[in-house]
């Protein structure tokens, strides 16, 4: 659907108004990171300072939380990449008994509210007497990261022609060669995009994490504690800005990667 006509004024106003509604609150974070006001959310800020940047950099608790978040996100993304790609390949390449069940199973962790995933894992841990650790967090995160990788991979597998794989095998490539030389280059960018989005999702997750973390603090949990009981507002402002900047880069990268992927080999068929 595309029209060369000019959009009606009311539509343009509503669309751009909506865009401003979406972006303005995020822009506000950048101003608050430099405010001199320490005890309230006063607007307009009484003055601007870069003092809090240095203070935040020197805070060990922020660094520890960041480290744990990165570790969990890296492990969960790796697990999700392997499981998600395998399932996507199977579902898009062949029809088999239980195929519908698999696609439903994958969607379930995001179709049901996160709190359900959280509390069921929590009660399972207490029933099985599993102590909280980095791995209990990973267990929860990987479960909902799978679907992100899976969706990206399924979309790409559908566009990649199956004839390519047959051709490679006919021309004498063994299974490993077919995988590394034909399949991987074709789905590579989709996996990279899916992996980055899964990473961002895990890095940001808080609902499931509150149930599976025990006493450990990931960066979102640190933020949540500050939100519920604000103690160091200026530091929170700076952390919030840093998080926006960090998430912005993967989104840009994923955008360019998936855009180029429109021209997949064999997709013309």
């Amino acid at each position: 659907m595309h029209s060369d006509a000019r959009a009606p004024l009311a539509l343009r106003l509503a669309a751009f108004g909506g865009l401003i509604f979406l972006l303005a609150p995020i822009a506000l974070i950048f101003v608050y990171a430099f405010t001199t006001e320490e005890t309230s959310y006063q607007w307009p800020p009484p003055g601007l300072t870069t003092k809090w940047l240095a203070v935040t950099v020197g805070r060990p608790d922020v660094w520890q939380a960041l480290g744990l978040s990165l570790k969990v996100a890296a492990i969960s993304t790796t697990i999700a990449l392997v499981l998600g790609t395998l399932a996507a390949a199977a579902v898009s390449r062949s029809r088999f008994f239980g195929r519908e069940t698999i696609s439903l199973l994958v969607i379930l962790p995001i179709a049901l509210p996160g709190i359900i995933t959280g509390i069921s894992l929590r009660s399972a841990f207490s029933l099985l007497e599993i102590p909280f650790s980095t791995w209990t967090i990973v267990l929860g995160h990987a479960t909902f990261c799978i679907v992100i990788v899976y969706n990206n991979a399924v979309a790409r597998f559908r566009r990649t022609s199956g004839a390519l794989i047959d051709a490679a095998m006919d021309l004498g490539a063994d299974g490993l060669q077919t995988f590394t030389l034909v399949i991987l280059p074709n789905i590579g960018t989709a996996l990279l995009a899916g992996g980055m989005l899964a990473f961002a999702l895990s890095f940001d997750e808080v609902i499931v994490t509150t149930f599976t973390a025990g006493q450990q603090t990931t960066l979102p949990i640190w933020m949540l504690e500050e939100l519920v009981r604000p103690r160091q507002r200026p530091v929170t402002n700076v952390v919030a800005m840093a998080v926006v900047l960090v998430t912005f880069l993967p989104i840009l990268a994923a955008y360019y990667l998936t855009r180029d992927g429109e021209h997949t080999a064999g997709a013309e068929k």
Partner: protein
């Protein structure tokens, strides 16, 4: 002798040029798997089935079983006997109000995001081109993928009594309007950040991108020629919208509403940070399993969104919403 060896090898293997012998255990294994498609599929699906089946579905079932247990009122310990008593407790006025409040909030958030999302999606699908297409794409993706807590935090800044919104209303000489809205019983409050209205605004903001994307996807599949044909046949823009575009975009709206509805049902962080002290389902689950230590009641509470979403997904599927995801 040097010539005889390859000859005898050829005699045993009739077509060496085509079936080149492959060294190494891994390539052989992969080849074997590829020649047995059923085995191949089985091996590919096995890990995810094990993971989701054991970790996810397993704990989900364990939770559901616990909702049929009850708690001993004197000792506070869980009694492991089948009973429907815990579900009966959900119908107590205090608990039932929580469910009603949450469903009402989820419905209004869904309706509001559909109304806000439509013009954005429609413009992005039909009119945006080149640079503007990229602006709209990133303008939707950035808030979608930005940190959830940072977005909530941003709204705490916006809605605070000393924050930018109050300031904006004052600058526009509309303070009376803001005060009038806050004075409305139930949805109003001391300031926007401690009112239902505030909770509603933040929910709508946070889940809006989840509505825009499927609506945009379904609008992009509407052929422009179809709209032109309707116009040629005498449909006014209003009729065209109501009779051609809207029905074709409806599966997208339903798909988006699955997200907005489900995510609002289960969220317990937004109402805890921005809103009045009255609980939503998510908060009830959290307090019941945490401080109250009443796992059976918490489990029974989680069954409510599962059942609601089950009905919702089932009817959405009948409307063909899954093709628009």
């Amino acid at each position: 002798m040097t010539q005889a060896a390859p000859l005898s090898a050829t005699a045993r293997d009739p077509a060496p040029a085509i079936f080149a012998p492959r060294g190494g255990l891994l390539p052989r294994l992969i080849d074997w798997i590829l020649r047995h498609p059923r085995m191949f599929v089985f091996l590919m699906v096995l890990p995810i089935t094990l993971w989701l089946g054991i970790v996810y579905v397993g704990s989900l079932i364990a939770l559901l079983i616990q909702s049929f247990f009850s708690i001993d009122e004197f000792s506070g310990l869980v009694v492991r006997e089948f009973t429907l008593k815990t579900y009966g407790e959900l119908l107590r006025p205090y608990n039932f109000d929580i469910i009603l409040r949450t469903v009402l909030m989820a419905s209004s958030v869904t309706v509001a995001s559909a109304i806000l999302a439509f013009p954005i999606a429609y413009f992005a699908a039909r009119y945006a081109r080149g640079r503007w297409k990229a602006v709209f794409y990133l303008g939707i993706m950035l808030p979608l993928w930005s940190s959830y807590l940072v977005k909530v935090y941003a709204w705490k800044l916006v809605l605070a009594k000393e924050g930018i919104l109050t300031w904006l209303f004052a600058k526009l000489h509309l303070t009376w309007l803001l005060e009038a809205v806050l004075a409305v019983p139930v949805i109003g409050g001391n300031s926007l950040s401690v009112s239902y209205l505030g909770t509603f605004i933040v929910f709508t903001y946070i889940w809006l991108p989840y509505m825009i994307l499927p609506v945009q996807a379904s609008l992009e599949r509407v052929p422009a020629t179809l709209i032109e044909a309707a116009a040629d046949l005498g449909a006014t823009p209003r009729q065209n919208f109501r009779l051609v575009i809207l029905p074709l975009a409806l599966p997208g709206v339903v798909a988006g509403s699955i997200f907005t509805f489900s995510l609002t049902l289960g969220d317990y962080i937004i109402p805890q940070i921005i809103g009045s002290s009255r609980l939503f389902i998510g908060q009830a689950v959290y307090t019941q399993q945490g401080t109250a230590g009443n796992i059976p009641l918490a489990a029974a509470f989680t069954v409510v969104p599962i059942v609601i979403m089950g009905i919702y997904l089932w009817s959405a599927r009948r409307m063909g919403a899954f093709d628009a995801l």
